[in-house]
């Protein structure tokens, strides 16, 4: 029964979702939305599981003085300080997003700059990955290098200055061969998703049940 009941629930839910896609009439019409609301409620509760996991694993590292326990201490302190300031801001101003509240201070001056820094690092990583990918050691890599050069130059004003046909060639590369490959992958993913969904609904794919 440990497997049969979840399989039955999966089958019923899957069939309902498929059927409601074609039937707009109530009560089936809004069933999908309702199931998504249930999912959000479950997700809300599992956030507590996540917090428990995060705090538990980091507390254990600090208590055992595991290698890198200092980072865990930063995580714990960061979590507690953010939570306390969040609660404080909410009690004091009835809102977390009141300008000038301690929580907004943390958000504006710590979280936003840290996020922006991580995102900005992407530029350097793109450069290093592109350097490796574009090294013209094979025919494929050479083709990639030439195509990338055309596309990059064709998309900036200096490209048109170098050769007036570059933007048009760039457009052709993006709209014909690039789009064809992209759509091929899209169709494959769509077919794979349908087949995988069918396997899950029919109970052939049970890995998610462990």
């Amino acid at each position: 029964m440990k497997k049969e009941i979840p399989l039955a629930i999966t089958f019923l839910t899957g069939v309902i979702i498929v059927v409601t896609f074609f039937i707009p009439h109530q009560p089936l019409g809004s069933m999908q939305q309702r199931l998504l609301i249930w999912y959000s409620i479950v997700l809300g509760f599992t956030t507590l599981l996540g917090v428990d996991s995060l705090m538990g694993s980091n507390f254990r590292k600090v208590l055992r003085r595991s290698p890198g326990w200092g980072y865990s201490l930063v995580v714990i302190l960061g979590f507690l300080i953010t939570m306390v300031t969040g609660l404080w801001s909410w009690i004091a101003t009835k809102s977390l997003i009141t300008l000038g509240s301690p929580f907004m201070f943390i958000y504006t001056w710590m979280i936003v700059p840290l996020t922006a820094t991580m995102f900005a690092l992407l530029a350097f990583f793109i450069a290093s990955a592109a350097y490796r990918a574009f090294r013209a050691r094979t025919l494929e890599a050479t083709l990639l290098l030439v195509t990338a050069a055309i596309v990059m130059l064709g998309r900036v004003p200096i490209g048109a200055k170098i050769w007036s046909q570059l933007p048009a060639i760039q457009d052709w590369v993006m709209e014909i061969p690039q789009m064809a490959a992209k759509r091929g992958i899209f169709i494959g993913v769509a077919m794979g998703t349908i087949a995988m969904s069918l396997r899950v609904i029919l109970g052939l794919e049970r890995t998610y049940l462990s």
Binding site: H25, L54, A129, G192
Partner: protein
């Protein structure tokens, strides 16, 4: 003129200012001049009965200049002579509005144009009622294709059940799992597995759980540490269960550490920073990026590359695939990721569904080729005055378009 008439005339003259004062507000309340809007209202088709579609023809004053013509006010009432209130506002240039209403109730509509010089209203239309439909006719094409696809998949599964030999091409990324785990074991380093930012409802995350199971079984067999940092707590719960079960399979449940399959954060770049930190501190021998990824994909895979880990990635996120291909040793492209559980398990029924999928793809490829030829020939024939083939092409194309 008799005396009575003269008295009446005198009374009327005396009362004239009073009558004029009474008549003035009445004139002000009189509806503005009617403009011909060709207003029409009908139940919105293929919906749950909560919407009425109002259409009209463009006003002559609607010339595309927002300073002289603001737009149209859709007014609604429940009685033809009742109080009309604003149901919605549509900017100039638009000629349609979908009004959210209660099912079955009669509604009356009129349209007011909001021009700088004129705010006249249209004639009243109604009653219009919203009704629910039992079948969405705009999705017939999806239904037909779903039934055909499901039939083919089930047919191939049944064929596989009968023991028919099915050929599946090699997927290098999946074959490399053994190599990756083996190398980590030899180096005495842990293995890191990331689902990216996928949720448990994403089919690619479900597919990734199947791969995680295989990786975890091999880790348990070799006694290699497996780290699974998570972005979504629900995925974390599923991953914990999967890894725990997988460690029991070769009889090594003692090796399972719950803290190794943990929640990190639900912030995109916070998660990337956390995973990068883990990689830089623990120097994993192998890294698996299998799931749904966004901009954090390259941040993590380049860090993995910098610590010298063998990297296997796979995603259905097309925009991130080039980054993985550039920075990882093996990449599962799109559908390969979804085929992983069938490929790894080698279960005949699962392999059968893969063959069915391949058959449908072959049909689609031939279909696209046939449509390309049909479209080209149709256009050439239309130039010669024979438009019927072009019409056939257009009809087929229209059938495939979903609302």
């Amino acid at each position: 003129m008799n005396r009575a008439s003269m008295v009446l005339a005198a009374l009327l003259l005396a009362a004239a200012p009073l009558l004029a004062a009474k008549a003035a507000p009445a004139a002000a309340a009189r509806p503005a001049p009617v403009f011909s809007a060709g207003l029409q209202g009908e139940d919105t088709p293929n919906d749950e009965g909560r919407s009425i579609t109002i259409t009209w023809t463009k006003s002559p004053l609607d010339g595309g200049d927002a300073t002289t013509f603001k737009g149209y006010q859709v007014l609604r009432a429940e009685q033809p002579a009742g109080q009309f209130t604003e149901a919605g506002f549509v900017i100039g240039g638009k000629t349609q509005y979908q009004d959210n209403v209660d099912e079955g109730k009669p509604y009356y509509y009129r349209l007011r144009q909001l021009a700088a010089t004129d705010s006249s209203e249209s004639e009243v239309i109604g009653p219009v009622r919203a009704t629910a439909q039992w079948f969405d006719r705009s999705r017939v094409n999806v239904l037909v294709l779903t039934v055909i696809l499901s039939f083919l998949l089930i047919w191939y599964i049944e064929r596989a059940k009968k023991g028919e030999e099915l050929f599946i091409r090699k997927i290098q990324g999946l074959d490399a799992i053994d190599e990756a785990v083996g190398r980590s074991t030899e180096l005495g380093k842990p293995i890191l597995y990331s689902f990216g930012l996928g949720e448990i409802r994403d089919i690619v995350t479900v597919a990734s759980l199947a791969i995680l199971r295989q990786v975890a079984v091999k880790c348990a067999q070799h006694g290699t540490e497996l780290l699974v940092p998570n972005w979504d707590p629900l995925v974390m719960a599923a991953a914990q269960e999967t890894v725990q079960q997988a460690y029991s399979e070769p009889g090594r449940p003692d090796l399972y550490k719950e803290g190794n399959v943990s929640f990190l954060t639900s912030d995109q770049f916070g998660y990337a920073a956390g995973v990068d930190g883990m990689m830089l501190r623990q120097k994993p021998g192998a890294v698996f990026f299998l799931g749904y990824f966004y901009a954090e994909a390259l941040l993590m895979s380049e860090t993995g590359h910098s610590v010298g880990a063998i990297q296997i990635a796979g995603t259905t996120a097309i925009t991130q695939l080039p980054f993985f291909i550039a920075s990882c040793d093996y990449t599962l492209i799109g559908e390969e990721m979804l085929a992983a559980s069938c490929y790894l398990k080698r279960d005949p029924q699962l392999l059968g569904s893969l063959k069915g999928e391949d058959f449908v793809k072959a049909v689609l490829i031939w279909g696209f080729a046939a449509m390309a030829v049909l479209g080209t020939v149709g256009m050439l024939m239309a130039r010669g005055g024979h438009a019927w083939l072009g019409g056939v092409f257009q009809a087929i194309q229209n059938w495939f378009v979903t609302a």
